[in-house]
């Protein structure tokens, strides 16, 4: 449809402000930038779920009929139920007709074309027409349900909400109408609105309206909830939490079981993991320990959380509790706090044991391998010594928390043409691409302002943090500050001299200009002083060397080094693709050039090295390259061996900002497991509020497995990207050994399956959005690879975890509140 395209092509920023906000608030797939954007998206989805939940609740109330059964109406059919069944049947028929149509088996021709108010519509296929009828009838039924549920018990708030919901839908449609009008204006389209445009406005408008209505519902429920939350008292919460802890330790004994199983598994882990290559040992041990910890804790929480409330209800202990002045929300949150305390305790123990174990088993391997390397060297086995040493270094690096700074990678091909990717040598995973040896082909990592690949109009700041990398009091640090102050002074002068400078700015600019001079002077003095000291030390060291006093010279050289900022470490991993065997036993060579992109006159740092495939090589470049660079550094890698190729991906080369301790990082990794446990506990409690314990347990388990193992697949399923039809059609294919791509013969069974699929798939797809993405909370891979989990990542994950867990506990509260526990 051309008119959608008009505003979709980057035009939203030219719409009036209120319409832009309507798009941001009304379209679930569109949001603003920054942290607010994520929050709005979250609120929109939550709102839609709230709307669905609230309307369903009203519908169920309407369906149940009057609370006081009318004896005169006994035996008469329930109007709402009958209508619902009728609409369900009609939907099935529609789905069936549409399946027939898709298989070209529909005997009935399309309806129309119709002429309506001078406009020609159609021809409309029968299924589409029926779908329209079903939609209208369904909406009508919802309307009836909403108003009739209101008639029972006069609740002003709910009435207002129903009105507001309708208002929101109206606003949605109006917004779309306005957007369309803007689009017509810009596109120069005149005349009356055509039927497709009308359809677009109505359908999209209702979609926008529904999202807005969801936000309204969310607001309403938040108010109701805040009222309850204000009543929550810590004393009662802690009492329930304490009882939950006692219950889990004494009655279920699950925490003890977890500890016992963990210890048993740990005792045997070395048997089947210990034989791996030393270089990758840490990665394999850490990821395995994380998996075991996650698995055990999740099994425990899946078994404990969902059965807690149903057990209380079944054993009627809940009556005693609710007869006390305990809020329903406290019942949920208290349990949550209790379980999370148990989890925290267990995580602390398991984490502590794991760190101790890793240090003992893996950490000791570093020293042992280094010793073996030394022994090999003394026996003249140079190659083996080199290999062992590399393995030890790699293992030591993995047992730390490295903080990498990534650049942006571009390629030049063998004809020196700029490319976004290198040569494809036919690897199945397209992760790395290659450059050809002994040609102008090169890969350049730019630590610089680089164009955003998704929107080249914007620049991404990938510059190196010079202030952090250079020691502030070193010669390089001082010189760098001097240069940046001088640059600032020049810029200030230029701005002051500009003809269009605003009088209001002049004063502040002048003030800054005045403070800069003394700063420059102070740093210059400091710098000159240190440089003199350095020159003296160098002279004395030379004198000592010529006099043959080696110890003295070394000591002096060390003093000189202390005046400088340490060299900047770079780490890199490449792979090699050979087109010929080359010279037997000779490695492929690569060159690396580090350049200051801001001051090309600074001499670049060059090095040549043999590439060892899949090993992470650490190199350094002198810190003086950073002086005056403003963080703009370019690293160029070329393959120097003819006919061979060097492969790389963007994340294969990075500057190492720092290297922290491993144990702290491991604890941060455990935080990821803690958050997963939080989400699953919340889901378990939620399931327990309205299901019997076996079903609640199954639901929690399913949520865990779906979120942990199958999230990617479910996402594809929801977006309709899975080949082979819906669940029932897939089953037919599976049993019949049919492949995914071929069309099935339209037999009665296949048609029935496709009809059911068409009926259920949308429902299943929408349910998938409730499944938590537990993989996103999992950082064990980062920890296992020896990279630091940063504070911002941790904060992101905490927000995500709460974003999943909080709504589930609130939903649990609403269900428990409306459930007739005391009946």
């Amino acid at each position: 449809m051309p008119f959608i395209a008009i505003w979709a092509q980057g035009a939203p920023d030219r719409l009036p402000a209120w319409l832009q906000w309507m798009i941001v608030l009304g379209d679930p797939q569109y949001t603003t930038t920054g942290p607010l954007g994520g929050l709005i998206t979250w609120a929109k989805y939550l709102g839609l779920i709230c709307l669905l939940g609230w309307v369903s609740a009203q519908f169920i109330i309407a369906l149940r009929g009057s609370e006081k059964p009318d004896p005169r109406r006994a035996g008469r059919p329930n109007f709402m139920l009958l209508s619902l069944l009728a609409i369900g049947a009609l939907t099935l028929i529609t789905a069936f007709l549409s399946v027939l149509d898709q298989n070209r088996q529909l005997p009935i021709p399309p309806v129309g074309p119709l002429t309506l108010a001078g406009q020609t519509i159609g021809p409309i296929p029968l299924p589409a027409l029926l779908a329209g009828v079903v939609a209208v009838l369904g909406l009508l039924l919802v309307e009836i349900a909403l108003w009739s549920s209101l008639s029972r018990g006069s609740v002003l708030g709910r009435g207002l909400l129903v009105l507001l919901l309708h208002g929101a839908i109206g606003i949605g449609v109006w917004s779309l109408y306005s957007i369309q009008m803007q689009a017509r204006l810009r596109g120069g389209i005149a005349g009356p609105i055509s039927p497709p445009e009308l359809q677009f406005i109505l359908l999209e408008g209702v979609r926008y309206g529904a999202t807005l209505a969801g936000l309204v519902t969310l607001l309403y429920l938040t108010f109701v909830f805040l009222g309850e939350a204000a009543q929550v008292r810590w004393r009662r919460l802690s009492a329930i939490a304490w009882h939950t802890i006692i219950e889990s330790f004494r009655r279920t004994r699950a925490p003890w079981a977890v500890l016992a199983v963990f210890v048993i598994i740990l005792a045997f882990t070395n048997w089947f993991l210990g034989r791996g290559r030393t270089a990758e040992l840490a990665r394999i041990f850490v990821s395995t320990l994380s998996v075991i910890t996650t698995f055990l804790l999740m099994i425990m929480i899946v078994l404990m959380a969902p059965i807690s409330i149903p057990n209380d209800i079944r054993q009627q202990t809940i009556y005693t509790v609710v007869s006390k002045p305990v809020r329903r929300l406290e019942l949920i949150w208290g349990r949550l706090i209790g379980y999370m305390t148990v989890i925290t305790l267990l995580l602390a123990i398991l984490g502590g044991v794991s760190i101790f174990y890793l240090n003992r088993v893996v950490g000791s391997r570093v020293g042992a391998t280094r010793d073996a390397a030394r022994a090999a060297l003394s026996e003249g086995r140079v190659d083996e010594a080199r290999r062992l040493d590399q393995q030890a270094t790699q293992l030591a690096n993995r047992m730390s928390a490295r903080l990498p700074i990534f650049g942006s990678l571009i390629f030049y091909d063998s004809r020196d043409q700029l490319r976004t990717r290198g040569v494809d040598v036919g690897f199945e995973s397209a992760n790395r691409s290659h450059i050809e040896g002994a040609t102008p082909g090169k890969a350049i990592w730019r630590f610089d302002g680089v164009p955003d690949p998704t929107n080249p109009r914007f620049l991404l700041d990938r510059r190196l943090p010079v202030d952090k990398l250079l020691a502030p009091e070193s010669l390089e640090g001082l010189e760098n500050r001097l240069i940046s102050l001088q640059t600032e002074a020049v810029n200030l002068d230029r701005r002051l001299a500009a003809p269009d400078v605003r009088p209001a700015d002049v004063r502040s600019l002048n003030e800054r200009r005045k403070t800069i001079e003394p700063e420059i002077r102070a740093i210059t003095t400091d710098f000159e002083q240190k440089r003199t000291t350095e020159q003296e030390l160098v002279a004395r060291a030379r004198a000592a060397e010529t006099a043959g006093k080696a110890d003295e010279a070394t000591r002096l050289r060390q003093q000189v080094d202390a005046l400088h900022s340490p060299p900047i470490p770079l780490e890199m991993t490449f792979n090699v693709f050979r087109t010929t065997k080359g010279v037997l036993g000779e490695a492929v060579n690569a060159s690396l050039v580090v350049r200051n992109a801001n001051r090309p006159e600074v001499p670049e740092s060059r090095s040549l090295f043999p590439v060892q495939e899949y090993y992470t090589r650490r190199m350094t470049f002198p810190s003086r390259l950073l002086v005056g660079s403003d963080g703009r550094i370019h690293v160029t890698v070329q393959c120097q061996t003819p006919t061979q190729f060097l492969g790389m991906a963007e994340k294969d080369l990075y500057v190492l900002a720092n290297q922290g301790p491993f144990w702290l990082n491991y604890l941060r990794g455990l935080a990821g497991i803690w958050l997963q446990a939080l989400v699953i506990t919340a889901i378990g409690l939620f399931a327990g509020t309205f299901l019997s314990w076996p079903v609640a347990l199954l639901l929690t388990l399913a949520a865990y497995l779906a979120g942990q193992l199958a999230f990617g697949f479910l996402e594809q399923f929801a977006q309709g990207q899975v080949q082979g039809g819906g669940p029932i059609e897939s089953l037919i294919r599976l049993l019949g050994h049919d492949n995914l791509a071929s069309d099935l013969a339209p037999t009665a069974g296949v048609l029935a399956a496709q009809t059911l699929d068409r009926f259920f798939t949308p429902i299943l797809s929408s349910l998938i959005y409730i499944v938590p993405n537990l993989n996103a909370l999992d950082v064990s891979d980062t920890v296992a690879s020896g990279f630091a989990v940063t504070n911002s990542t941790l904060l992101d994950h905490v927000l995500l975890g709460i974003g999943y867990a909080l709504p589930f506990t609130i939903a649990a509260y609403f269900i428990l509140k409306n459930r007739e526990v005391a009946a």
């Binding site: 699950a254 990758e280 394999i284 899949y614």
Partner: protein
């Protein structure tokens, strides 16, 4: 966890007691019924070598995993792991791949194809993905260790033993980097107490992969002679394979299967007399004679083994009959036996191998080889006068020897080999400005091969720079003297 039955309202005490008795009876009954079944199961396990514990050795981790992933879920878990392994291989995550395939065999230790396939995959495919020879070696070793682990858990499978032997023999000994890999094997101080380098027959530690391979080949052959077959699991016997079980390796009548110990021994002896390991000097003298003698004995063992002929199983075929004219033409043999003897012996070039071992085990053979080595070495160091002397001495000895071994002499393999030696001699002469003498030994072969230089892929002198004599670095062979007049 509190079970729903234990927490019951007080009024149901007697009912709960009855239920407890019922459960207890059920447990006892089930155990009673299981007794004969488990006895029968033990017998089947013992028959098929499917026991979990060999004497004094229990694999705790495997047992625990099976406990954790009980029963039918084992198959599902294996399937998932296999899928994961394929993906990890695509992602070039080699160490995780190894972990995954290790897990598969912990869950299904008696699924033989897994050992065979993944052992080969690690030793051949994964090692090829690594660039440096020492890394390649690590992965070949991983593959061999994987196969050895499989043998430890399936002691009655001759073909798994044969696969292990083959990987020692072929992947280390015949790779492009064989010279370096064999040196790495030579130096390997195995972290697993040196078990990797142990010859399973003599239980000695060997520094040569071909020796260890021979031991493993002998072990496989020995097992077959004891009557073992590939352990068949219930699943396999129900599936109709294109390549059926009896047609696989480890079949008693498989020629190539039985020839491998002799081949491994011969390769070892050949490797001994040249720089077949990086920077390791060759060995001659009595040591080489003894190994060639062993090689001759191994070929004789093969030659004297009775193979049932294809069309008449009661008629035995002895390959060695072909080298014994008297016996071959005697009326004791039927035409059918003669046909199969000739066909099979020629198929594997038996006469060449036997005669070669016979010739090389003589003192003059070993001495000739020493002259050739020293001559080539002098040639690479541009010491042409010495090269000329060495080659002349060597070729005369060689000529005298081969005239007594016409089968070896006339075989095409040898013509290429000996022709190259003659070519080197001629090259040394040309460098000294001398003509090729009319009475040069093997002149007729020389004329035939002089434009076809041959570089031995398993000789460091032909392939790489030689460590302790820096100037000998020219990896390309000397250009043939006749090519630029």
């Amino acid at each position: 966890m509190s079970s729903p039955t234990t927490i019951a309202p007080a009024g149901h005490q007697s009912g709960s007691r009855n239920r407890q008795i019922l459960y207890a009876l059920l447990i006892v009954g089930l155990f009673g019924a299981m007794w004969p079944y488990s006895e029968w199961l033990q017998k089947v396990k013992a028959d098929n070598d499917l026991g979990e514990a060999a004497i004094g050795q229990i694999d705790g981790s495997s047992f625990l995993q099976k406990l954790a992933v009980i029963g039918g879920f084992r198959g599902l878990a294996t399937l998932g792991l296999w899928d994961q392994a394929l993906q990890l291989q695509k992602d070039q995550e080699w160490d995780k791949l190894k972990l995954a395939v290790d897990f598969i065999t912990k869950l299904q230790p008696h699924f033989l194809s897994v050992w065979t396939f993944q052992g080969w995959n690690l030793a051949y495919n994964v090692s090829a993905e690594w660039d440096a020879p020492d890394d390649k070696y690590v992965w070949i070793k991983n593959g061999i260790n994987y196969l050895r682990d499989g043998v430890a858990k399936n002691r009655k499978s001759p073909d798994l033993i044969w696969d292990t032997a083959w990987t020692y023999y072929h992947k280390i000994g015949f790779a492009d980097e064989a010279i370096i890999l064999r040196r790495l094997f030579h130096d390997d101080t195995d972290e697993d107490g040196g078990k990797f380098k142990i010859d399973p027959i003599s239980l000695d530690t060997r520094d040569d992969n071909f020796q260890v391979a021979r031991g493993w080949f002998l072990r496989a052959v020995g097992l077959v002679d004891e009557g073992a077959q590939r352990a068949e699991t219930g699943v396999e016997s129900k599936v109709e394979y294109i390549d059926r079980m009896p047609d696989r390796k480890g079949r008693p009548g498989d020629l190539n299967f039985r020839a491998m110990p002799a081949h491994a021994q011969t390769r070892y002896a050949i490797g001994l007399e040249k720089m077949s390991k990086q920077d390791i000097e060759p060995l001659f003298g009595q040591f080489a004679i003894a190994e060639w003698d062993q090689s001759y004995k191994d070929w004789m063992t093969l030659g004297k083994h009775p193979f049932p002929s294809h069309n008449a199983e009661e008629q035995m075929i002895f390959l060695d009959d072909l080298t014994n004219d008297e016996r071959f033409k005697s009326p004791e043999l039927t035409d059918n036996q003669r046909y199969w003897t000739e066909r099979w012996a020629n198929q594997m070039n038996y006469r060449y191998w036997k005669d070669r071992a016979d010739a090389e085990r003589e003192l003059s053979g070993v001495n000739a080889r020493r002259f050739f080595y020293e001559g080539t070495r002098a040639l690479r160091n541009a010491n042409f006068a010495e090269a000329k002397e060495k080659f002349r001495a060597g070729l005369s000895l060689w000529k005298e020897l081969l005239d007594r071994h016409p089968v070896y002499r006339d075989d095409e393999l040898n013509q290429k080999d000996t022709g190259e030696l003659a070519r080197r001699y001629a090259f040394a002469l040309k460098q000294l400005g001398e003509e090729v003498p009319e009475d040069m030994p093997f002149k007729e072969i020389y004329e035939y091969v002089k434009n076809e230089p041959f570089r031995d892929p398993f000789d460091q002198l032909d392939q790489m720079k030689v460590g302790n004599e820096g100037s000998a670095g020219n990896p390309t062979p000397p250009s043939p003297p006749g090519s630029n007049p």
